[in-house]
Amino acid sequence: MRDRLFPTQEVGSLQRPYWLQGFGRQRQEQRTVEDAVAWGKRLRVDEVGELANGSGTGLLQKPLGSITDADRERAKEIATIYAIRMQESAGLDILFNGEQQRTEMYSFMANFVNGMSEAGVLNAFDANYFTKFSIDGDVSVSERGDAFFAREFAFARKHTGRTLKPCLTGAYTMVDWSYLEHYMRRNGSPRADMEKAKESAVISFADNVVRPLIRTLSVKGAAMVQIDEPAAATNEAESRIFVESLNRSFEGAWNGMEKAVHLCYSDYRRLFPHIADSKATLYLIEFTNHATNTFEALRLFREYGIKAKIGVGVVDIHTDAIESPEKIRDDILMAAKMLGDPSLVSVNPDCGLRTRRPEIAYAKLCSMVKGAELARREFGE
């Protein structure tokens, strides 16, 4: 039996629920507690009683001063169950935990890497800041990091029977967003020094951080892994290094593991021709901006004979407007036509729906699933 066409999945991150955002730091408003309960019941979260109950002993009902570290951890676990149930309820084929136990994709990962230290705070945009790290020693994944990713996956595994995909920030992006003190040699031209430092750091990160983590997840039974690489397509001169880092990272995967890569908001044409050598089996890419370069990239995937599947982003994560199932169907069909093979098309949002409120994210995912169903009908499924 062949796999069904146009499998659906989220890209990784979902916004933390309101009740978790201030948990332990500020008193929960009654309305927030009621919303948490109502949303939990709607999603059929069995653990909703642990948040609030008639006897007033729920996590969200506890006085601020009495909340323990164990309570905080449990709150994150329950948020993970909410995220899983939300994806199941929307009808997604492939799930992950919504990254409810992570803060964001860069600093969070860097904290688990030996050889990286905080350099300082920088502005990302508006009032959003991030901590930038310096690579000032040989990099390797810490025992704490290895244990975290294993535990995070095992917890999600316990709570769903559907295909699960853990997500990891890729070597290229981690290095691209860091200072490279350890790898700078300070001889020759600064530009050449920087380029060499970057290559050494990216390869080392792939070998000593991402690959071991993928190996751990393989051993734990993950059928799929996703490497997030938003920086990958920003510098075409380095696309060879990026692809090499992917291949080295995927050496940690078991035979038959789905090896996904997420790319977003870049000019994907810059990845060619090197991406033809990649061992990735699925690329999840942002698509709804319908920029010329995205169409062109699809054409190039076909022209280069790349047999990896393409996850087309059919949901815009930057607006609250809910895409109609018909529009999503049309996008899917267009991608299938451009790739020349519907079995190569997978369906996802442009990027993680962390930017949208849970109720909007849910509505978008439901619409996405309906759109995929409509597209399958065109092929008699």
């Binding site: 502005n123 945009f125 508006d126 009032a127 920003t234 930057h318």
Partner: protein, 323 residues
């Protein structure tokens, strides 16, 4: 001199987040920004032109989008710049700033760009003999969305005219230098998409005002490929990225701003190395007069590192002056 906006301190970052969440007042935020500005200005001992780092600019386009007409969802009415203006999503989509993990909101030009002339000066702090950083006309045309003008040329020229209109009020406030930063030139050269626009000289001429020193800088570009762009214009000096430049043998008819302090890495340069780099550049390149500075904005290194880098620049300037 510095060549772009600077980063904010971790304390200011914290208060900025609180302000966003409604837990700190605009006054508190302004107070932290003012403290950071003072520190940055104080570090620039001996600089030809001083900058406060433009720390209250949300990116290189805001508050231009508030000061000049022509932009979609511009919210400024009158009076002093309100920090919360321009912070909302309606300004434009979050867009990656070249090859960094930082972003800007892409402005959308909906109608004619213009201004009365007082607006930019009104929002700038008084820091002495100062330099103002603005996107160069080429970069401006490349980095905004435009549904009003029929050509990049018309867009760039009106933008340049608005800057020129602002010059007198800026000069009265102490801003006797304007540095047009052309980030897109180096980037487009690196991707093979750069085509020298035949309107570049006209756009620069449209900015030029007799009392203002005008510079153009080209971060992340090979100097030999960009100095010629400035040579045909009315700019007074051209800024080059000495760290990105491999071939030091280039000539320009303009004064030269040597970007020798690395704005992308946290290692603070030592004065002896900087002095040697500068001497090598002066020996190889040819220009009438030299400034020294950073190779790009100090927005990509933490505030305390930025201060130390400015300090190194100030120190080497002193050493060279003694000679």
């Amino acid at each position: 001199m510095l060549t772009g906006i600077a980063s904010r301190s971790s304390t200011t970052a914290k208060v900025h987040r609180l302000f966003r969440d409604g837990k700190a007042s605009e006054r508190e935020l302004r107070s932290e920004i003012a403290l950071d500005t003072q520190k940055i200005v104080a570090a620039q001992k001996g600089f030809a032109f001083v900058s406060g780092g433009q720390l209250d600019w949300l990116d290189l386009f805001r508050p231009i989008t508030e000061c000049f007409t022509g932009f979609r969802n511009s919210s400024r009415k009158s009076g002093a710049f309100n920090y919360s203006y321009g912070a909302n999503e309606s300004v434009g989509p979050v867009t990656r700033w070249f090859r960094t993990n930082t972003f800007y909101r892409k402005p959308h030009v909906d109608f004619r760009i213009d201004c009365a002339g007082y607006e930019l000066a009104e929002i700038m702090p008084d820091v002495g003999r100062a330099v103002l950083f603005l996107p160069g006309p080429y970069s401006f045309a490349r980095l905004v969305d435009n549904s009003f003008y029929n050509s990049d040329e018309a867009l760039a020229i009106d933008y340049s005219k608005a800057i020129a209109k602002s010059s007198e009020a800026l000069r009265k406030k102490g801003y006797s230098c304007i540095l047009l930063v052309e980030h897109s030139v180096g980037f487009d050269m690196s991707t093979g998409t750069f085509k020298s626009p035949d309107w570049f000289g006209s756009a620069i001429s449209a900015v030029k005002d007799s009392g203002t020193t005008l510079g153009i800088s080209f971060p992340k570009a090979e100097a030999g490929r960009v100095v010629g762009l400035a040579d045909g214009t009315e700019a007074d000096f051209v800024g080059i990225d000495a760290l990105y430049t491999e071939d030091l043998r280039f000539r320009t008819e303009k004064d030269l701003l040597l970007g020798v302090v690395d704005s992308s890495n946290i290692r603070v340069e030592n004065v002896a190395d900087l002095k040697a780099d500068i001497e090598a550049l002066v020996k190889s390149a040819s220009a009438a007069r030299y400034y020294i500075g950073t190779n790009d904005r100090l927005y990509d290194v933490p505030f305390d590192i930025a201060l130390r880098k400015i300090g190194a620049l100030s120190e080497v300037g002193g050493v060279l002056d003694e000679r």
